[in-house]
């Protein structure tokens, strides 16, 4: 079944509350997917710096001395550890190198996502435990997406949890199941994409990344997904400044959106939205099938 939430803030005054609002939305969706939970938050950026969120099954050993070991490999890094995850702050110019350096100095560490602003935290377990573990409530930011998973297409593991991030500052959450993901994965591998899981949703994320790498914006990539992805899907996606929603033409996976002057919100069910400020007077609607909805801070600014 799976539950999806998303919140794109237009009002800066709400930014300190992003993590708290998203946490409530996510916990409400627990009974749509109790297998795992994940959240991607687009937070503060600092000039010339990039963030890499990594995960380890043995954080005590893997994160100890990681900054020093990266320094020995020529990368200046600051480390902020949160439970099984750590956010590594590096120079923007080192972003291309860090993946290969990490495979040498910490082969067991997995990269959850990277970019100027995104941080991704995901684990197996109930949403309330996951948000507590990573102190999501305390996080601020401009927009974020979250997912509670009921596993259908692949194993219940940390890597099988959503959001999936396959490009800098890009991530995707998915409710549904794709039927042509194996074929599409092969084609994307031929184009140079790499995959960490057998999960169908990771293919959708990689597809969007590959399309955007060809010069499309998120809205255009999502339009292409309607032709190239087969199966059932409601996708909510984030980029550094953007937030998008698309449903397949059959649109049997549920979706509700709300918009006020302060925010755009997405939930698999209306229940997920009831604690948002001003929801009583928000414009609430069900996104149309095969229709791309897309907001961007840079375009609205």
């Amino acid at each position: 079944m799976c539950g999806i939430v998303g919140l794109f803030l237009k009002d800066k005054a709400l930014e300190p509350r992003l993590g708290s609002l998203l946490s409530d939305m996510l916990i409400t969706m627990t009974d749509r997917g109790p297998d795992s939970a994940g959240i991607a938050i687009y937070g503060e950026t600092s000039d010339g710096k990039a963030k890499v969120t990594v995960q380890s099954a043995a954080p005590g050993a893997d994160f100890l001395d990681l900054a020093e070991d990266l320094a020995k490999a020529g990368l200046t890094a600051e480390l902020a550890v949160k439970s099984t995850h750590a956010v590594i702050l590096i120079d923007q110019s080192d972003l291309a190198n860090i993946r290969s350096v990490l495979t040498v100095v910490r082969p067991n560490v997995r990269i959850m996502g990277s970019g100027e602003s995104v941080e991704i935290f995901k684990e197996v377990g109930l949403p309330k435990d996951v948000v507590q573990r990573f102190s999501v409530r305390a996080m601020g930011g401009t927009h974020g997406i979250g997912h509670t998973r009921m596993a259908t297409e692949s194993a219940v593991t940390t890597l099988g949890a959503h959001p999936f991030s396959t490009g800098a500052d890009q991530c995707l959450v998915h409710n549904g199941s794709l039927s042509n993901h194996n074929n599409l994965r092969r084609e994307l591998i031929r184009e140079g994409m790499s995959f960490e899981t057998q999960n169908d949703s990771e293919v959708a994320a990689a597809y969007l990344t590959a399309e955007m790498a060809k010069g499309k914006d998120l809205g255009q990539a999502l339009t292409g997904a309607l032709d190239d992805l087969d199966g059932f899907f409601t996708f909510v996606v984030g980029t550094k400044t953007g937030f998008g929603v698309v449903r397949d033409p059959i649109a049997c996976k549920p979706a509700v959106m709300a918009e006020t002057e302060q925010y755009v919100a997405f939930g698999s069910e209306y229940r997920a939205l009831v604690n948002l400020p001003g929801i009583e007077t928000a414009r609430v609607w069900e996104p149309e099938p095969a229709t791309v909805y897309f907001w961007d801070h840079e375009k609205t600014a």
């Binding site: 649109a251 549920p254 069910e269 209306y270 229940r271 009831v274 609430v284 069900e286 149309e288 099938p289």
Partner: protein, 228 residues
């Protein structure tokens, strides 16, 4: 009048109270406040009771209703009034997917819009929508009436049996075996009756078009295979 505040009262208490109404009960009007998108609000009513729901509900509100009058002062999630037997369900706002699905009787009135599959497999229910409806509505509709004052989405009435469909606005496309049919005096009279019951006074029966089954897919016939 019993009032159930779902922000602190378990939903089960509300539904139990509704199920335990005996014949001649003095409780004829219930109010439900703070539904906050809860699922299965006021399901399984089998008494002539009135329920006023003050807010929006989630899945399956007023399902299996048999004789009750439920008004939702907000919007409804998927499967509202599913398998209604008799009675009336009013929705002030919008309805999500498969509103009134498999309904055997009674009246469902949606003041706003309904999403996809409105009235799917309807079996005797009457549905009146003030706004528009989504794709695949009245799919396999067997009997009853679907009245749409706005527009209809793709594949209206796909594989339709004997449900009668009336649409005032545009129809994006008709499903397999669904055709436009002439509006006869008896249809205009039925439409007038349904609009009146729904409290809709500003549209005329003459403004609607009627759609129904071409009856070619009732029994499998190899010559019709392409139509499926």
């Amino acid at each position: 009048m019993p009032v159930f505040d779902l922000s602190h009262t378990p939903l089960r208490d509300l539904n139990s109270a509704l199920h335990n109404l005996g014949a001649g009960s003095n409780d004829t009007l219930f109010e439900v406040v703070n539904p906050r998108g809860h699922h299965a609000v006021a399901v399984g009513i089998d008494a002539p009771v009135t329920v006023e729901v003050k807010g929006s509900v989630g899945y399956y509100c007023a399902g299996m209703n048999d004789g009750g009058t439920v008004t939702i002062h907000g919007s409804a999630g998927p499967g509202v009034a599913e398998n209604m037997m008799s009675g009336t369900v009013f929705i002030e706002g919008d309805a999500s997917q498969y509103a009134g699905a498999t309904g055997r009787g009674g009246l469902l009135v949606i003041k706003g819009n309904a999403a996809s599959r409105c009235g799917i497999s309807m079996k005797g229910i009457d549905i009146v929508v003030r706004g528009s409806i989504g794709h695949m509505s009245a799919f396999m509709g067997q009997s009853g009436h679907l009245v749409v004052c706005g527009d209809a989405g793709e594949a209206l009435g796909d594989s339709l049996y004997e449900a009668k469909l009336f649409v005032r606005g545009t129809v994006k496309s008709l499903g397999a075996d669904c055709i436009e049919k002439p509006m006869k005096p008896k249809h205009l009279a039925k439409l007038a009756e349904l609009l009146a019951k729904a409290g809709i006074t500003d549209v005329k029966p003459e403004e609607f078009r009627r759609y129904g089954s071409a009856r070619k897919l009732y029994n499998f016939n190899i010559d019709n295979a392409d139509a499926y």
